[in-house]
Symmetry: C2
Subunit: 446 residues, 2 copies
């Protein structure tokens, strides 16, 4: 493997340039920006490495599919996405979110950590491996979708129409963290997600706020409705919300306890005095990994500009995401939420729900998963950091778990990568290190 | 008076043009737009009618003061403002809010009803009266401020520094409505106002919403805090909030009962099924005129754009206005609110309060007020519509009631003028009619 590692080091400027090229495309899926350019560039990269590549249309954004076929061997698939979150709030960025500037060891760009860095590390590893050894020792598939940041709306349809393309012995999930001691995070599951919008409607136009004495204010309706959803102890108050939540096994608890979580670092970085409910240690990790959430992503009504405006708003809206755990069912949660609102007298509050995703977990003892762990230990000289479930979300259940495909995620982010936030970034050195990790996994499977 | 009325009719195109000129200046005080131009134009209009005119600087926007001195006679003052509300949301306007377009009898412009129409009607009446009779039979003062729409922040200082300029036997307040049967609304008081902003703060930047499991969300803090302020029966829950609210006298109740309120018309216009709490008749009017409010003017946090963004916001803010009634004290309310939030565990929620204004009421039996009523009846042939308190607000307490100056407000708006909302408008015919009303009041005082 030293030959491959050296090749990677010798060509790191080129590999960094490839990543910058992709990061410079503002492929914000919720705003339909840069989709065509980004999908084309990913397809071109795959083709250049010799993959059979297709850009497969969906009713939304296309899926880029690449296949490197080597014969009757094990198949691993890489799941990634070429879309990114919106860069808003733009004023909080230190530099242009799509310039992919490098200062020192830091590459700053929307999408660099989530997950263009991981995607390009995989493509670069294929390149380096082939340059050194001529051909790949396993079959490799790339499934690169363009709607992950808007809930993978059309991936289920893709999966249904192309069951052959989805089949694999192991799926490597989109991304993960490299810790400051160079140990590698391996994620063996992911929370599910349900994204909804609540809307309260009042008059057909904004009114002078003198009318607040006699006309209902939808902002109050929304506030009252929201306040019934969760109490200040962070307990979700929707009836039966927790009914399907699985208990943690003893094995899971052991891995959870051994999992590192950088408490002090996180508090300091985000200027926090404490975590929610003053949690710390294993209870904190348990809440992060195994508990569902009910989060306000956005709320807006009336006047939000400078200074004052005395207005009675005509509408109020909130965007919420629920991070789900096994075996919660997003469709059922929508139903429970509707019943909850009705029961509390909020029949007037409308729910606009996106199609959700269930959570997924992989058995950490699966032989192929163990191989990935071994590769990580070889690259870093340290045991990997096992995370049983990524507290973020993704379509892992649909793409893998429903077919019994084990899944491990790793990537090139760091614990200050600011995914979904201003100044998203990765370390260039982690990116290079991540390319080596992918090469090591390919080798381990040979 | 027929001579003056005819002169007004013959010169109505000119008077309308004058109003359009003023409406075309976007004098949005909360955004510091068009202030210099608007104050200069008002001063020019006053000078052209022969008034001794000054533009008096304050630490905020200047006050335009005009004085028409006729000798040892009664003095009436006109209180108006040259500033307007922001035009936001701009996309809901049928035409440019500052084009002052006229279609049929309707002039649409931000500020046309509140209160540039009333201001110009007064200036035009002075013009017409002098053109016909040579000189005014009374002393007239104009006090035209530029910060009414942001709470008249610097008017108290102006009043303190220029007590002579404020003195008058009667003050005509900024505006009012002309009903479809041409009866004239006379407002003999106004609610007070307190405008505050609440802020909840979390991490020092937005975070990926996966962190919602372990990091406090300021949007939830704000929602929970707001939900403690008012119950769904519209009762404000701040301790002692109602303690100073005066009971309604029998005389006031009689006037209240005789007051017209266009229930059906209002419901239809704003697409409402019912008023708050299904109120109707006298209880509805009582709530509108005599009850204080606690209204959400705006609430915002996190992502409000198209589609979804999974974010844990770093901050949440709400703008609230309280309409106050005699004898509530805005400074005391801020104190009560602070105590309320602290008592409910929301010490972390910050309050940013603007200087408030107390409510004001004038005795409807005051002899000079009766004269205005008589003028209104002469112009319209109908008894005026007496409103004991304007459910909107203004600095009437500071400018008049604290000095014992009786106050009556009337103007050129209509019940669909959409003040503070998109498509603010007046009828051109009401504007001309309003000029006549001002002339009739001057005559009545002669």
């Amino acid at each position: 493997m030293e030959l491959v590692y050296r090749y990677i080091e010798e060509h790191q400027d080129m590999y960094v340039k490839w990543l910058q090229d992709l990061c410079q495309i503002p492929s914000v899926s919720t705003q339909n920006r840069g989709i065509q350019e980004a999908s084309q560039m990913v397809a071109d990269f795959l083709k250049q490495q010799g993959g059979c590549t297709e850009i497969i249309a969906t009713t939304g954004h296309p899926v880029v599919y690449g296949h490197f076929f080597s014969g009757d061997k094990k198949t691993i698939s890489f799941y990634n996405h070429y879309d990114v979150q919106p860069e808003d709030p733009i004023e909080s960025w230190h530099c242009d979110p799509f310039a992919a500037e490098i200062h020192g060891d830091v590459l700053t760009a929307r999408g660099s950590a989530d997950n263009k860095g991981a995607l390009m590390a995989r493509i670069c590893a294929i390149h380096a491996y082939q340059q050194v050894y001529g051909e790949l020792p396993i079959n490799v598939k790339f499934i690169v979708e363009g709607e992950e940041e808007k809930g993978s709306l059309n991936l289920p349809d893709f999966i249904e129409k192309h069951p052959d393309k989805v089949q694999a012995d192991l799926c490597i999930w989109e991304n993960g963290i490299i810790y400051s001691d160079k140990s590698i995070e391996l994620k063996m599951g992911t929370k599910g997600i349900l994204y909804i919008e609540l809307a309260a409607k009042g008059a057909n136009s904004d009114m002078h706020s003198l009318n607040a004495a006699i006309v209902e204010n939808p902002a109050w309706r929304l506030v009252w409705a929201l306040s019934t959803l969760k109490d200040q102890e962070e307990k979700v108050l929707i009836d039966k919300f927790y009914d399907r939540v699985l208990l943690i096994s003893d094995d899971e608890r052991k891995i959870l306890e051994s999992m590192d979580y950088p408490e002090e670092e996180t508090l300091q970085r985000y200027g926090l005095n404490q975590f929610l409910l003053n949690l710390t240690g294993t209870p904190l990790k348990e809440k992060l990994i195994f508990q569902p959430t009910c989060n306000i992503c956005g709320i807006y009504s009336g006047y939000s500009g400078e200074g004052s405006k005395t207005v009675l708003p005509s509408e109020a809206r909130a965007k919420l995401d629920f991070r789900l755990v096994p075996d919660q069912d997003p469709e059922e949660i929508v139903q429970l939420l509707r019943e909850h609102l009705d029961r509390h007298g909020f029949e007037d509050i409308e729910i606009f729900a996106r199609k959700g995703t269930r959570a997924a977990k992989t058995d950490p003892g699966h032989p192929l998963v163990v191989k990935v762990m071994q590769a990580a230990e070889k690259v870093s000289g340290k045991p990997p950091q096992k995370v049983l479930m990524n507290p973020g979300s993704g379509p892992m259940y649909r793409l893998c778990q429903q077919f019994g495909i084990p899944t491990v995620g790793f990537g090139v982010g760091n614990s200050d990568s600011r995914k979904h936030a201003p100044n998203e970034n990765i370390y260039v050195s982690d990116y290079i290190y991540g390319i080596k990790m992918v090469a090591a996994v390919i080798r381990e499977f040979a």
